[in-house]
Subunit: 222 residues, 2 copies
């Protein structure tokens, strides 16, 4: 069996579970998004602030993917939101079967939306569908404005780009980051991508992101 055949078989087994996840989420009428980024772009911090700011309005459940530790799930649970931790034990992305088991653990009927925080990796997770309604790529300004050009796959596939840590662009830090270059390069790959520059520290730009997220399930609840 050739390497390429094995890769195809792995992706096809993954797709079968992704389809099960879609069916499960549809049956419960829930939306689900898959957050993907480099390590350290601030996904967990964004999630914590989003859950807290939307408390009482949107009920969010989280699936946390990490190679090791449950540091991130602990941070989510501190907000009182339900979080299921998946440890991949070295693997560089979540797979649909892992997400299937996690979805079965979440109290779906008490949630409006499920957010999956994938393993920190801008490359591998983009190839594995998890049954989500869309991917959300997070890029921190500290990572540089050349990332859509250098890592195009995830920008081409995402519904939303959250440009995080924009507070670092002011206040005297020495960050060179051209937001317009990112917009242009991301839209060249993906005309319909929604782009929200945000700071989970200062709250800058978070309202536009909340409006988008809330708009995803509005009308599906009742």
């Amino acid at each position: 069996m050739k390497k390429v055949d094995v890769a195809r078989k792995i992706l096809s087994a993954n797709e079968a579970y992704a389809q099960k996840n879609r069916e499960l989420l549809t049956r419960h009428g829930k939306r689900c998004f898959n957050m993907i980024s480099s390590p350290g772009s601030g996904k967990t911090t964004l999630l914590v602030r989003t859950i807290s700011d939307l408390a009482g309005a949107v009920r969010i459940g989280v699936i946390e993917g990490d190679i090791q530790t449950d540091i991130d799930a602990q941070r989510i649970r501190a907000t009182s939101a339900p979080a299921v931790q998946i440890n991949t034990d070295g693997a560089c992305h979540l797979s649909a079967v892992q997400v299937h088991r996690a979805l079965e653990e979440l109290p779906l009927d008490n949630l409006d939306i499920v957010l999956i925080e994938n393993v920190g990796n801008l490359v591998c997770p983009s190839a594995f569908e998890l049954g989500e309604d869309g991917k959300i790529v997070v890029l921190s300004v500290a990572e540089g404005d050349d990332k859509p050009a250098k890592y195009p796959a995830i920008f081409a596939k995402s519904k939303v780009l959250l440009v995080s840590k924009v507070d670092l662009l002011s206040g005297g830090a020495l960050i060179d980051f051209d937001l317009e270059r990112v917009r242009t390069d991301a839209r060249r790959l993906n005309k319909s991508i929604e782009i929200f520059p945000v700071s989970a520290k200062t709250g800058e730009g978070m309202t536009a992101w909340y409006d988008w997220l809330t708009g995803q399930f509005a009308g599906t609840r009742f």
Copy 2:
């Protein structure tokens, strides 16, 4: 053929080329290091400053690994150092055979040291030996101090940890980063890892890193 057998075959084919690379480098009496980090930790900026500051004292050649584009090789060549770009076309790490071809393109006899900048990825490149004398992991302070705990493999395997962008810790930016936590967690995984906090922007800490790098080939040239 099981997935695990295929993985073993891929790693074993890679190891054969890693051994060829070791032999080639030994024959020419050159040292080689494999730089690994998340996207946007500042590997290329560190390389550019290192090459410029050591110009006339250390002759550095670079192998640039990227999924797409030759943006990074262009930045290196602007310093007048030789750089060979490898595009992996989607793959999340460099392999030893790619590095073998690149080593054959570099003017090894006119160099003191070869630095490989791997694909931006804190997970996958750690599993693929390239024939290097050691791995150098780069972690920017913007990524957070929990990364050795969450991505242990690369910290366990590296000779050096460059903690980059330390200029962001001063000057009013809102970065929470506990260098002592990083030191403790990295040394728990790897007692002998050398840790250099550096800023390629301000030059802070770069001398200690240059001393280490220069010490790697001193005495091998003559």
